[in-house]
Amino acid sequence: MKILLVEDDDVTRKYVLDGLRGAGHVVDDATDGIDGLTLALRASYDAAILDRMLPGMDGLSMLKAMRGANVQTPVLFLTAVSGVDDRVEGLEAGADDYLTKPFAFSELSARLGAISRRPTQVVEQTRLTVADLEMDLVRRSVTRAGQPIELLTKEFQLLEYFMRSEGRVLSRTMLLEQVWDFHFDPQTTVVETHISRLRAKIDKPFETELLHTIKNVGYTLRV
């Protein structure tokens, strides 16, 4: 992917650059808002990572300028302050996701993957398929290898998210936000418990494991 990174903190910038380039992405970087905006308007990126607090022009203003110029590049905000207020503000201004520093690179990577979904995939589908697992969104039913599987509401929503993000790693935090709308970190095993129950229903009785755990990063659904 082609990624734009605008971050003025050297340590963070290096950390992210190393990680992204190590994963095979092409990255352009800038250290202030004005340079960053120039790059964003000039070239087309698959995703942009912007720090909230930037010299020259802060991340929020930069985003507004981008959207104003009809640049639809998906944007992920980074912020040092674990602000209860900031997240909503950023999302309302047009950001696609939000991550507070310090963060683990794996989390950043997972979220980046999620927001840089190709637009064509957003077309409404009535059916989702991964290998022999099929989900009918209209009838709200799931089958694998032709056999019907009974799922509770939340289990269905969880599986739907996985199937829509096939192959992508979804972190625990992402799952909590998207499936349960929890914007905090529970001290108990909410995610793990539901994953294990889902596995028992869609994986255990079958030969191939589809739902994988990526240690210390998250989960993914793929063959």
């Binding site: 602000g83 209860v84 520093k101 310090p102 929890f182 210390n216």
Partner: protein, 437 residues
């Protein structure tokens, strides 16, 4: 009181004085007529008596001249002169319509008897007037004194109540409350100023402590996280050494625990500082309960516990608040119950609404906590288990309290007999909008 006493003494003195004058008047008339007899003889006396009787009004003065046997010679007519003795006599016995009291004198002049009498009526009138005046004066003074005393004591009472009220608010957590002194420099005023100084100190100390812990959390987050990243990289590098990798994973887990604690601490600080107030919306508490049940039923099950939810989705459980924070509040209460209620416990999640508001409650039938700990259990890092062996950061309930306070909701702990019941009471949405600050 003093006024009454003084008035009474004055009145008595005046009354005695007036009585003496009556006596003097009666005696004087008697003496003057006796003089006339001495100077001019018997006929002159008779003449003088007749003249006096004509000039004088028997309602005021009475004079009678006659023989020792009671035969009338001159003056006013008396019904029964023989029966009259010196001193106070009722007017009726002197032939008058009124029974006013007269002072009567009797004198022997030669073979004649001279009776003079003076009525107390006038002086009595004067005395009554004086008494009324004194009485009225006393009454006015007493009323004024009572009024002034009442006003002073009421002012004093109000000021004491004001001081009391401020102290209660501060105890409840409103650290910035102060007593209004209005420039009074009396005892209460000086006391108020001293109390305000103490409250100032108290607020600064509390704010300072909170700030320090928030600063510590903030400053340590970055190095802790870098540490976490380093351990993560080491874990990847140690993929050929499972035993080492295991240990490194444990280290990672510990580091995550530290980060969680700091995050929770920072979140509490922000919430206390009033973050998110502007983003308040109408939030249905019953909906939050439903979402929490969906998330936690399985978790409880795996922990050998049962989660029950009871909330009427039709009831109006709208509250003016922040959905995310309220969800976290409910989640913390449930997690607290999971952690402490023990195996086999039943945890109840309930919501309801009534006239005075909307409420959410989480109760369990576990060991509960002793009532004397209710106050302290919502403090940051407070642990019932003083040796701090049980899991958890000790911040869960502190966060619940911070969120409840932000929503101006009341947090109540009680004995579920057995177990612990925690109830959060909110003002209904319509009312909360009215009292928005």
């Amino acid at each position: 009181m003093a006024n009454l006493g003084a008035g009474w003494i004055a009145f008595q003195a005046i009354h005695d004085d007036l009585d003496r004058r009556v006596e003097q008047a009666a005696v004087l008339m008697s003496v003057e007529l006796a003089d006339t007899f001495e100077r001019d003889g018997r006929d002159a006396l008779v003449e003088a008596t007749r003249a006096r009787a004509t000039a004088l009004d028997p309602e005021d003065d009475i004079v009678w001249l006659g023989l020792a046997d009671g035969t009338f010679l001159a003056g006013h007519r008396l019904p029964d002169p023989q029966d009259l003795a010196v001193g106070d006599v009722s007017g009726t016995r002197l032939g008058q319509d009124d029974d006013d009291t007269y002072l009567l004198t009797s004198r022997q002049i030669g073979d004649l008897r001279l009776i003079t009498a003076r009525s107390y009526e006038d002086t009595d009138d004067i005395a009554r007037t004086v008494l009324k005046a004194i009485g009225a004066a006393t009454l006015i003074v007493t009323l004024l004194a009572a009024l002034v005393a009442f006003i002073l004591s009421r002012r004093g009472q109000l000021r004491i109540e004001a001081i009391s009220s401020v102290l209660s608010k501060v105890a409840a957590g409103e650290m910035q409350q102060r007593i209004e002194t209005h420039g009074h420099s009396d005892d209460l005023g000086r006391l108020s100023e001293r109390i305000n100084d103490a409250l100032e100190q108290l607020e600064a100390t509390v704010v300072g402590i909170k700030q320090v812990s928030a600063d510590i959390a903030h400053d340590l987050r970055t190095p802790i996280n870098r540490l976490g990243i380093q351990v993560e990289s080491l874990t990847l590098e140690a993929s050929n050494h499972p035993a080492l990798q295991d240990k490194l994973n444990q280290a990672s887990s510990n580091i995550r625990q530290i980060t969680n604690t700091f995050d929770a601490l920072l979140r509490i600080s922000q919430i206390e500082a009033g973050a998110r107030k502007a983003k308040f919306r109408a939030v249905p508490i019953a909906g939050i309960a439903a979402a929490l049940y969906e998330a936690y039923a399985a978790v409880c099950d795996d922990a050998g516990q049962t989660l029950l939810v009871s909330s009427n989705m039709d009831a109006n459980t709208l509250v003016h608040g922040d959905q995310d924070l309220l969800t976290q509040l409910g989640a913390n209460l449930i997690e607290n119950a999971i952690r402490h209620a023990g195996q086999g416990a039943t945890i109840r999640l309930e919501t309801g609404s009534g006239l005075n508001g909307v409420w959410l409650s989480v109760s369990d039938d576990g060991p509960g906590i002793p009532p004397e700990e209710y106050e302290r259990v919502t403090e940051r890092f407070y642990r019932l288990d003083k040796a701090r062996h049980t899991p958890g950061s000790g911040l869960g309930l502190a966060l619940v309290k911070a969120i409840a306070d932000l929503h101006k909701a009341r947090l109540r702990l009680s004995d579920a007999k057995p177990g612990l019941a925690v109830r959060v009471e909110f003002k209904p949405f319509s009312e909360a909008l009215k009292s928005r600050d």
